[in-house]
Amino acid sequence: MAGESKGWDRNQMAARAAQELRDGMYVNLGIGIPTLVANYIPEGISVTLQSENGMLGMGPFPFEGEEDPDLINAGKQTITELPQTAYFDSATSFAMIRGGKIAMAILGAMEVSETGDLANWMIPGKLVKGMGGAMDLVAGVGRVVVVMDHTSKHGESKVLKACTLPLTGKAVVNRIITNLGVLDVVPGGLKIVVLADGVTEAELRAATEATILG
C-alpha cells in the first residue's frame, strides 16, 4: 500500500548514514535528517564536521544562556566550538569544498536519478529560497550520500530514471539511503546494498522508478 511508512524511521536512516563515516574524515552534513547523523557517530570513530559558513570542528548546541551570536552553523543555528575548531572566511571554506578536501557530504534530496542526478533546491511554482551551498558541495566533495524518503506522501517514487525538478548537480550522487534501504549509483543504474529492516526486495523494487540492476 502506498503512503504507509515502511522500513527505517528518520533516526534509523541517520544511524545507517553514520555507518558511512570513517575515522579521520572531514564531513559536511546538510539540513534535516543529515543533521541527525552527528548523534550516531560510531564509537572509536573521530570525524570533523565542516560548516560551510566558515568552520571546521563543529560542536553541539550550546547550553541555555551560553548562545553566541558570532557562532552559528550553516542552518543559522547557534552551536559551540571544540578543541580542534578552526574558523575561516567563506571563500576559504568553499575553496576546501571545491578543492575536494572534504571527504563526504551527507545531504537531503527531493529527487535522485539512476545516473546520480540530484534535485534538492527548487520546486517550480513554489517559494524558491535558493541553493545556498548545495551546488558547490555536490560538485566538490569526494563522495555524496543522500538521505531521503523513498516515496512522496502520495506514494510516488522519488528515486527516478530522470529527475523532474531543477537539478542541484548532474551525476554527483554516489549512495542513496532511504527508509527502504541503501542503493549505490553504478554504471547502468542502481545496485541494492542492503534492505531496511522488514522490507523485501520486491517492495523496494515496486517503490522505485529507477532501474535497479541484478
Binding site: 560548516s51 560551510e52 559558513n53 566558515g54 568552520m55 553541539p60 548546541f61 550550546p62 547550553f63 541555555e64 544562556g65 551560553e66 548562545e67 553566541d68 551570536p69 558570532d70 557562532l71 552559528i72 552553523n73 542552518g75 543559522k76 543555528q77 547557534t78 552551536i79 566550538e81 574558523y87 575561516f88 572566511d89 567563506s90 571563500a91 576559504t92 571554506s93 568553499f94 575553496a95 569544498i97 571545491r98 542526478d117 517559494l127 524558491v128 529560497k129 535558493g130 541553493m131 545556498g132 551551498g133 548545495a134 551546488m135 558547490d136 560538485a139 566538490g140 531543477p166 537539478l167 542541484t168 548537480g169 548532474k170 551525476a171
Partner: protein, 234 residues
C-alpha cells in the same frame, strides 16, 4: 594614519550614489554590517544592487533596505528568511540573481584579486550554467563565472586598529573577508577600535590595505535561530 570616522553616516559620506553595486558581508544575521546598513537606509540612496549571501530578515539587516524599496537587485545564494523580500520578488519589484554560495564567495575573492573570471564545476548541468561559457579541462566540464568588483563594500569585524587591520570573531568572519576585498572602497564597522600596535601582526585576518574607513558603535547582534541543549541534572 587614522581611518576612524565618528559615525556610520560620516564614514559613508561621499561614497553613496543611486544605482551603485554594494558588496555586503555577513551570513544570515551573523557578522552583518548593521550600523552601515541603517546609515544607508537613512541616506535614502535608491536603485541599489546588493551582493550578499542573504537578504536579512524583515526589519533587520538588509531587510531594512527592502522595506524602503532602496534595493533594485539582490545577488544571493539563499533568501528564505524574509517575507518582504518574497513579496517584492514575486510581484516583480525586485530582481534576484541566485549564485551558489561558494561561487558568490569566489566571485568576490576573484574581483578583489584582479581575476576577471574563473572556471568552476559548481552548477554544471543546472540552470546556473545556462548561457555561461563551458570549457573542458582534463576530461571534466567547467563553467566560467565572473569576478565581482563592487563600487562599495560594507563589512563588520570584531576589532580594528586605526590603520584598518581587522580581526574577526568565530563564524562572523564568513563573507566579510571576500566582500571587503572586492570593493573599490571598503567601509568596516567594528565592535572595538584598539590602539596601533595592540593587534598581533601574525593574527590579522584582513590587512588594512583593503579597509578605507572604520566606524565603531553598539551592535545588536541578533540571533536568527536560537538552539540550545538542556544541562544534565547534577
Amino acid at each position: 594614519m587614522n581611518k576612524v570616522y565618528p559615525s556610520a553616516s560620516a564614514a559613508l559620506e561621499g561614497l553613496l550614489q543611486d544605482n551603485m553595486l554594494i558588496a555586503a558581508g555577513g551570513f544570515g544575521l551573523c557578522g552583518i554590517p548593521e550600523l552601515l546598513i541603517a546609515a544607508i537606509r537613512d541616506a535614502g540612496v535608491k536603485g541599489l544592487t546588493v551582493a550578499s549571501n542573504n537578504a536579512g530578515v524583515d526589519g533587520f539587516g538588509l531587510g531594512q533596505l527592502l522595506e524602503t524599496r532602496q534595493v533594485k537587485k539582490m545577488i544571493s545564494s539563499y533568501v528564505g528568511e524574509n517575507a518582504e523580500f518574497m513579496r517584492q520578488y514575486l510581484s516583480g519589484e525586485l530582481e534576484l540573481e541566485f549564485n551558489p554560495q561558494g561561487t558568490l564567495a569566489e566571485r568576490m575573492r576573484a574581483g578583489g584579486a584582479g581575476i576577471p573570471g574563473f572556471y568552476t564545476k559548481t552548477g554544471v548541468g543546472t540552470v546556473i550554467a545556462e548561457g555561461k561559457e563551458h570549457h573542458d579541462f582534463d576530461g571534466q566540464t567547467y563553467i566560467l563565472e565572473r569576478g565581482i568588483v563592487a563600487d562599495l563594500s560594507i563589512v563588520k569585524a570584531w576589532k580594528a586598529d586605526p590603520s584598518g587591520n581587522l580581526v574577526f570573531r568565530k563564524t562572523a568572519r564568513n563573507f566579510n573577508v571576500p566582500a571587503a576585498t572586492c570593493g573599490k572602497v571598503c567601509v568596516a564597522e567594528v565592535e572595538e577600535v584598539v590602539p596601533l600596535g595592540s593587534l598581533d601582526p601574525d593574527t590579522i585576518h584582513l590587512p588594512g590595505i583593503y579597509v578605507h574607513r572604520i566606524v565603531t558603535g553598539t551592535h545588536e547582534k541578533r540571533i536568527e535561530q536560537r538552539t540550545v541543549r538542556k544541562k544534565e541534572a547534577v
